[in-house]
Amino acid sequence: MLSQNNPSSVVAGDSCRHCCIRIQDLTVCLGGNTILNGVNLHVHCGDVLAIVGPNGAGKTTLLRAILGEVPYRGSLSSLIGGVERRRPRIGYVPQKLHFDPDSPVSVADLVMAATSRRPVWWGIGNQALARVKAILKVFAADNLVARRVGELSGGELQRVLLAIAMTAEPELLLLDEPSSGVDVKGLELFYQLVRDLKKQHDISVILVTHDVAGILAYVDRIVLLDHSIITESSPKEFLSDVRGS
């Protein structure tokens, strides 16, 4: 388990546990339209599951349902060490931030706001700053601590958001379109960090993306979603299906 107070545990982690995240018969109806219909997903800890599909297929709605932002029928549960819980702890890496790039919010402010009760507007002391740096260091982002969030490149922002997500000690990590606005090198580093995380922490990862080619080397299974699950396969099978069709 990661510890909020001890960022070094981000790399230390527990040994492998028998656990999984279960999404059963998840259905979302919004404004009279069925956006998702009877979605069943079973993500083992240490697995990265990619969800791909056309625009409007319900990928983002699935993430919003998991986050509890839209009403849904069905269930979402986690099984950790034989104990079932209705709502797993979730770490979320959004696609982008909905704020003005000129906003006076530094990376340290953002990390502190997400991980501490000490008011950010009062200032960040040396001890707190050291903790923020330690959290970011694991994700090669400690050098960004004083930068304004709006000044970060796409890859830098994704790493900062991943660092924040991991401080929640998540059982399920949700990544929303991480390739959006990120250069190839930045994306490679990001996916490597995710791969390291899943190995070290045994967490389940659900990744929503349209960049199928970029993720093949990093994911364990790929789900093709179009309002309901069309196919679920390994990257190899997915590739051969695509070539075959």
């Binding site: 932002e69 979320y92 909905h98 704020f99 919010v105 530094s106 706001a113 008011p119 958001l161 997500a165």
Partner: protein, 286 residues
């Protein structure tokens, strides 16, 4: 209050400082300026400037309802009306697909029209114009007590909810993933704004109250690089323009609220220039 009067006599032995109404007004400015600055930082970050303008204008409907109900002091109906408005806007934001601006525009039109229609019956609107431009010089010790209470309420709220508000302003889904109850948070913030605006509307007026909320934060934003500096500079600008505007209005014989806003605009213009110089210097050194 007598201690405050003695302090002003001792520290500020100026012509304007000898009058009780100026001493009261100075204390009121020193109390509400930081409150406005701090709340304004979040108003500007969340692009809520139009919302606070609508809140200010809803005072007219509150006063009108107070008149209809025969209530002498309109502060109660004004606060009730503004709180209802704040909650309704938050609920409607989630229910309608129309943009927030459109929803706010509809609310503002309704509130202003309702207020003016009722208050203008038989040509009686003139006696309510004091609410349009405000009069901080008429602030009473009792009102100052309420402003001090408001100051501490906002301070405590900001200590407890400041981080959550910051995270929500950056990305509400990210905030929800950290188990922040976004709807409750946003609603509590808008209710607090509604109360603060209504408690001070008689002092600064419907027409300019929004400027006092928005301008210090907007000025600070031009060169602050983190949340602490953003808050600190907003408070500094708000206090500077508040005190300077109060004193200038005494010598110029002008409406205090409007004069304070002119100084706030001056701070904003200064901050634009300072921000450009700072970013130029950073680029050169970078």
């Amino acid at each position: 209050m007598s201690e405050w009067y003695k302090l002003v006599d001792m520290v500020l032995p100026f012509d304007w400082g000898q009058y009780v109404f100026m001493k009261n007004a100075l204390l009121a400015v020193l109390v509400i300026a930081p409150v406005y600055a701090v709340l304004g930082t979040m108003v500007v970050s969340n692009r809520m400037a139009f919302f606070t303008d609508v809140l200010g204008h809803s005072a007219l409907a509150g006063i009108a309802i107070g008149v209809v109900c025969g209530i002498q002091d309109p502060v109660g109906p004004m606060i009730t009306m503004a709180v209802i408005l704040a909650v309704l806007v938050n609920v409607f934001k989630g229910l309608t697909r129309a943009s927030t601006d459109t929803v706010l525009g509809v609310f503002m039109a309704f509130m202003v029209a309702l207020g003016i229609t009722i208050l203008s019956r038989q040509g009686g609107f003139v006696k309510y114009t004091k609410y349009l431009i405000g009069d901080i010089l008429a602030v009473s010790p009792n009102e100052i007590t309420w402003l001090v209470v408001m100051f501490f309420v906002v301070l405590i709220y900001w200590c407890v909810a400041g981080n959550a508000l910051l995270l929500t302003s950056v990305n509400s889904s990210l905030a929800r993933s950290r188990r922040i109850k976004v709807f409750l948070l946003e609603t509590s913030f808008t209710i607090l704004l509604a109360i603060v605006v209504m408690l001070s509307i008689r002092l600064v007026g419907v027409l300019i109250i929004n400027s006092l909320l928005v301008l210090p934060a907007a000025a600070s934003r031009n060169f602050a690089r983190n949340t602490r500096a953003y808050t600190l500079w907003a408070v500094v600008f708000s206090l500077m323009s508040g005190v300077a505007g109060l004193i200038a209005s005494y010598y110029w014989g002008t409406a205090t609220g409007a004069t304070i806003v002119l100084f706030s605009v001056g701070c904003y213009v200064f901050s634009v220039a300072a921000g450009r110089l700072l970013s130029g210097a950073l680029k050169t050194s970078g």
